[in-house]
């Protein structure tokens, strides 16, 4: 398995990667909570067309769409301490960048959505202002998946995690770490 050169001691890198892992689990749980609130908010709008921005389902939804970009931004700030996770030309990691941009889109959509509902009170799922919520979340999920796979692959590479025992999965990890899995990895 190809070993990437490290700029920090292995033990330090493992500890820092695991701190990133903690943040990822917390932010993943918040994202799961948003998905649950999709149903809660949807059930409210079966009953009331649009009462106000200040219903429990909306507090739940909107507070998460503020917490998620801020949380991932905190993750990006800590990420700078792990050289191997840097993106092209020492920039922010590509997956992290997509995640933050995606959730930032949802954060700004809170305002856009309120402006739309100032004129059109009907809560129709397919209106364009709602597309921005959904597309933002999808972009964020794609980025987060790429980032999580990168962190996990590095933990495997450092010997802190055991890769899948399935030989096909193990082969995929091996190819990804050697940079040969072009179509399925983001460098």
């Amino acid at each position: 398995m190809a070993q990437m050169p490290a700029l920090i001691p292995k033990e330090v890198e493992i500890q820092r990667l695991k701190k990133i892992w903690l943040m990822v689990i917390a932010l993943g749980s918040i994202a799961a909570s948003v998905e649950v609130d999709n149903f809660v908010d949807g059930s409210l709008h079966q009953t009331s067309i649009r009462d106000s921005a200040f219903t429990p389902a909306h507090w739940w939804l909107y507070s998460h769409f503020v917490a998620l970009p801020l949380g991932w931004a905190a993750c990006a700030m800590y990420d700078r301490k792990i050289p191997v996770l840097r993106g092209p030309n020492n920039s922010i990691n590509t997956g992290l960048k997509m995640t933050i941009l995606g959730y930032l889109a949802t954060m700004f959509t809170i305002g856009v959505n309120e402006m739309w509902h100032f004129w059109f009170v009907e809560e129709i799922f397919a209106v364009p202002n709602h597309w921005m919520f959904n597309m933002g979340v999808v972009v964020a999920f794609m980025g987060a998946l790429a980032y999580v796979v990168r962190v996990y692959a590095r933990l495997v590479e450092l010997g802190a995690e055991t890769p899948g025992e399935n030989p096909y999965v193990a082969e995929m990890y091996k190819m990804a770490l050697e940079g040969k899995l072009y179509s399925r990895s983001i460098p």
Partner: protein
């Protein structure tokens, strides 16, 4: 190995275990207390969030729906909590299975009692 500025022995490139410990700071295997408090806070916030629904908007959020969301989210949070503690401690000689068992057991009983008696 070359260490960042402020670490190591003045440019000669050597790093001691004391330097490594200083770079690490608080080790993740010692964060069980913080993770447990975060889990309990998340669980409490979940109860607060769902309770706000069925106490203030009972016509839109039936108590049973609130409890369903509460139970599903508690399971998600519990899995995350166990995962956090186990991953942080693997490879070390630390073991917090007792704390995890007590915490998960307490929140499971709490979730059961709340789902049976609160909000009806």
């Amino acid at each position: 190995m070359t260490l960042p500025k402020g670490f190591g022995s003045g440019g000669s490139g050597g790093s001691s275990s004391a330097d490594v410990e200083r770079m690490i700071g608080k080790r993740v295997e010692n964060m069980t207390g913080m993770i447990t408090i975060s889990y309990l806070a998340a669980w409490g916030a979940t109860f607060g969030g769902t309770a706000a629904g069925y106490f203030y908007y009972p016509w839109a959020y039936p108590t049973n729906s609130g409890h369903f969301a509460f139970i599903v989210l508690t399971i998600i949070e519990a899995i995350g909590y166990i995962f956090c503690v186990k991953v942080m401690q693997e490879g070390s000689n630390k073991n917090s299975n007792g704390i995890v068992a007590v915490t998960i057991g307490a929140t499971a009983i709490g979730t059961f009692l709340i789902s049976m008696y609160v909000g009806y």
